[in-house]
């Protein structure tokens, strides 16, 4: 197992290298010039060119790439071309809201969606099943920004229970965190509840028809134990996959929700960097996202062996 984990972690390096080369080339080949953006509307082409030279953007591509790789190997993500801020500091500031809201979203989703999926499968083709499936279709169909605005309208503007926007770190004020994070988390959770509930229902339906379930029932095992100890555990592998991918997607950035609730997260940082052609920030964000995906996949794979003893690495 340990050998497997080490091999998988080492495999991250070539993945990141390939991502780094592709991202670097794509950014340099796409239209856009950070120097022109930095200089503003009234700058002349000659002034912009001088700024390009100062920023090193007129250096040959291979020189720029080697410089960047050299920085990366020393653990330095570089400096923003636009704000001259250290990229790692920028990410550090924005990652906290993203991770905390992602965790809260996944927590809410799992707590609600798994029981919903189990009940839907257990009460297959009854009103409970149809109710869960209807919610699921709605969760998929309604755009998140619409759900966000509806929540704001009800809970913030009419009932005045919660703030409209913003973010407070849990380390500063835990209640403040929940006040501000609960609506974005619920908004994001609607789609994940829909996804996880459907997946749970489908997996459970398959498992509930297995012989060992019939045997368990024949032995007189309570229905709750049948569902949650025998059936759910065997149905859990695809559910874990969905949860893991969902978490990675949330960490990768949820721009629309961040915009609607004005959360200073990774998603807006990435989009703003792309719009401003801020190469070091875009490169760092894509590498970070790629790294998170690889790590989350590893954790999902490892979780399989915990859930299903037949799976060994």
């Amino acid at each position: 197992m340990l050998g497997y984990i080490i091999r998988r972690i080492l495999a991250i390096l070539p993945v990141l290298l390939i991502v780094a080369v592709i991202v670097f080339l794509m950014l340099r080949l796409s239209p856009g010039d950070p120097a022109a953006i930095l200089a503003g509307d009234a700058a002349t082409p000659a002034q912009i060119d001088r700024i390009r030279t100062e920023l090193g953007l007129n250096d040959p591509l291979h020189v720029q790439f080697i410089t960047w790789m050299g920085q990366l190997l020393q653990g330095d993500l570089g400096t923003s071309l636009i704000s001259r801020t250290d990229v790692w500091t920028m990410i550090e500031r924005r990652i906290d809201p993203t991770i905390n809201i992602a965790l809260l979203t996944i927590f809410i989703s799992v707590m609600l969606a798994v029981p919903m999926g189990v009940i839907a499968a257990w009460k297959h083709r009854t009103w409970a099943d149809y109710l869960v499936m209807t919610f699921s279709v709605l969760g998929f169909s309604i755009p998140v920004f619409v759900i966000g605005y509806i929540f704001i309208s009800i809970f913030s503007l009419q009932l005045r229970w919660l703030p409209v926007q913003g973010y407070t770190a849990p380390s500063e004020d835990l209640l403040g965190f929940f006040q501000r994070a609960i609506l974005p988390a619920l908004t994001l959770a609607t789609i994940y509840i829909a996804l996880i509930a459907r997946m749970t229902r489908a997996s459970m339906l398959e498992v509930l028809n297995e012989d060992y379930i019939r045997t368990a029932r024949a032995k007189g095992v309570s229905e709750r134990d049948v569902l949650f100890r025998h059936a759910l555990r065997n149905a859990a592998v695809p559910i874990m996959t969905i949860i893991g991918i969902g978490f990675a997607l949330l960490i990768g950035g949820v721009v629309v929700t961040e915009s609607v609730f004005n959360i200073p997260g990774i998603g807006r940082l990435t989009v703003d960097a792309i719009l401003a052609r801020d190469y070091p920030v875009i490169q760092a964000m894509i590498l970070l996202t790629a790294g998170i995906y690889v790590l989350v996949n590893l954790l999902i794979d490892l979780s399989y062996s915990l859930i299903d003893p037949r799976i060994r690495y």
Binding site: P31, G32, D33, A36, I37, L38, A39, G40, D41, A42, A43, T44, P45, A46, Q47, I48, R50, I51, T53, E54, S80, I82, S83, R84, T85, M90, R93, R94, F107, I108, M111, Y149, I152, F155, S156, L157, R160, L162, P163, V164, Q165, G166, T168, L174, L175, F178, Q179, A181, I182, E258, S259, V260, F261, N262, P264, R268, D272, L275, A276, R277
Partner: protein, 535 residues
């Protein structure tokens, strides 16, 4: 409430800690109240670039007015007034002497000296077009003692004081000498000024949030504030600028009392704020913005004066502004290249623009010029609310006159990059694009970059126009405001005859504040001195 508490305790018992915590927050607590004496404002964009010399971005200039001070500043009548310094001009107009006032201190506690001012002016003069013209005739600029700087010219430069005191695009902000010695093409990395607010670097989140604290050692002038001139009295402890990508969120936040100020409210969302009795909506900037189109003089079809004139005749300000703004309260037809409401305003040559366009006359000119159907490559940004509509309206107007138009949608940053290309339109170049300016950025022939006739050394579009350069020299040499106005009239007529650019009228943004905010100075630049907040 009791039901909610019962539900909360049931959830807690069942281990739903986070969900119950959230519910507790929802039921027991009201939203966090803004900190006392902090004004939170949503600005028109996020602050990313901190160097006010390297960029002309408005948000950076606004930031600079918070933390830096200026030697001179213009009041609401465009009249230069002393700010950090008084000035004297020798009788021959060749020597300007500036004397710094007492009590000027940088945020690090060091006194502001004439050497700091000299270094700051030198760096600014390398980037600003007006500054470059002054330095072209500068013999020396030196600190003659701790508080005096002497600027000696080789020939008179009448508008010197006007250029030094201008509000946009690059006012000469005064920085410590060690910072101002940075190359003008390299962004500065230390942000210390002597202005009324201190920049809180630890809380700066580029593009998202910037925090300022009152500078307790700032000594304001005694005069009443007027635009960027007069006393800068600060009545709050902190000012926080946040950037909200979604204006709907900003309006909701203002309605809920979570923020105090929105710099620019989109006109189509106005009914949402106007219906709230706790919100005040008003036009802060009496002058507004000029929207305009610029053609590329290097390539067909607009290398031909007649075809540029045909394009101008085809366009109608009313069509553009009605599409772009919609509400006539917030736009104004104006054919003056220097903008209506400014001292040099004159509308000669703009009759067709302000009277609905003249497509028949445009079509006739196309025929006379022998237009061969060369497509007009029109760059159309799709991601900036104030720039999305002009290209679409203009494209149809040009088609109506007989032009073949190739409307190319792209993001604004692609426009910004591509407009720097001098290549033919078929090889990545362009023929026409649109942008907007605050009026103080176009109100003077030395500031207005579209009036630069120095070809490749000028602004995008690159007209080689010796006549306009001669007129600008006449403006510099003009001995009185009346003479300057006369030259400006000639520049207006010449600019529209050559179609150096097409002014498409003026538009205004309303600002919105809570009713507890007062004292905002009506000016093109939003500033936070003089502003009071009732708790």
């Amino acid at each position: 409430m009791t039901e909610a508490l019962n539900l909360k305790s049931r959830l807690l018992r069942r281990g739903g800690g986070i969900a119950a915590g959230a519910l507790l927050a929802a039921t027991l607590l009201t939203p966090a109240v803004s900190e006392a004496q902090t004004i939170t404002g949503v600005m028109h964009s996020g602050l990313r670039v901190l160097d006010p010399v390297i960029t002309t971005a408005h948000i950076t200039r606004n930031h600079a007015y918070m933390i830096y001070d200026v030697l001179l500043a213009q009041d609401e009548n465009f009249e230069p007034q002393p700010q950090m310094a008084d000035w004297e001009v020798s009788d021959d107009g060749l020597t300007y002497t500036f004397t710094l006032r007492d009590g000027l201190v940088f945020h690090d506690g060091e006194a502001v000296t004439a050497e700091d001012a000299v270094a700051s002016l030198n760096r600014w003069g390398k980037r600003d077009s007006g500054g470059q013209l002054i330095f072209d005739v500068t013999e020396s600029l030196e600190a003659t003692d701790e508080k005096t700087l002497t600027w000696t010219l080789s020939e008179p430069f009448e508008p010197l004081i006007s250029v030094i005191s201008k509000q946009s695009a690059l006012p000469p902000f005064i920085m410590p000498k060690r910072v101002a010695e940075t190359s003008a093409d390299t962004p500065i990395e230390e942000h210390i000024g002597s202005g009324p607010f201190v920049f809180v670097e630890d809380e700066f989140d580029p593009g998202q949030r910037v925090v300022y604290e009152r500078f307790d050692d700032y000594v304001p002038r005694d005069e009443e504030p007027s635009w960027m001139a007069g006393g800068k009295h600060v009545y709050v402890d902190r000012v926080v600028w946040v950037n909200m990508a979604d204006q709907q969120t900003a309006i909701n936040a203002l309605g809920a009392g979570e923020i105090d100020y929105i710099e620019q409210v989109q006109v189509d969302l106005l009914p949402m704020v106007e219906s709230n009795p706790d919100v005040v909506v008003e036009r802060r900037d009496p002058l507004g913005y000029q929207t305009m189109g610029r053609m590329n003089f290097k390539h067909p079809p607009f290398d031909d004066k007649k075809l540029r004139q045909a394009a101008l005749l085809a366009l109608s300000q009313e069509d553009v502004l009605a599409t772009m703004v919609g509400n006539p309260e917030y736009y104004e037809l104006c054919g003056a290249i220097f903008g209506c409401g400014t001292p040099l305003a004159d509308e000669t040559g703009s009759e067709s623009l302000t009277s609905g366009g003249d497509p028949e006359a445009a079509a006739q000119l196309l025929e006379e010029a022998g237009y061969d159907g060369t497509p007009v490559v029109l760059m159309a940004p799709t991601d900036v609310v104030t720039l999305n509509d002009q290209p679409v309206v203009a494209a149809q107007a040009l088609r109506n006159a007989g032009f073949v138009v190739d409307l190319q949608p792209m993001d604004w940053q692609s426009v910004v990059t591509r407009r720097a290309s001098m290549d033919p339109p078929s090889e990545g170049g362009w023929n026409i694009f649109f942008t907007n300016w605050m009026l103080p950025e176009v109100a003077d022939p030395l500031i207005n970059v579209m009036l630069n006739g120095r070809g490749d050394d000028g602004w995008f579009g690159w007209p080689e126009d010796e006549a306009v350069e001669a007129l600008r020299a006449d403006y510099v040499a003009a001995a009185s405001p009346e003479e300057q106005a006369e030259v400006a009239r000639k520049i207006q007529a010449h600019a529209l005859d050559e179609v150096l650019y097409v002014p498409l009228g003026q538009y205004f943004f309303p600002q919105a504040t809570g009713t507890n905010i007062s004292g905002i100075i009506p000016a093109p630049v939003p500033v936070f001195w003089n502003v009071k907040k009732e708790d």
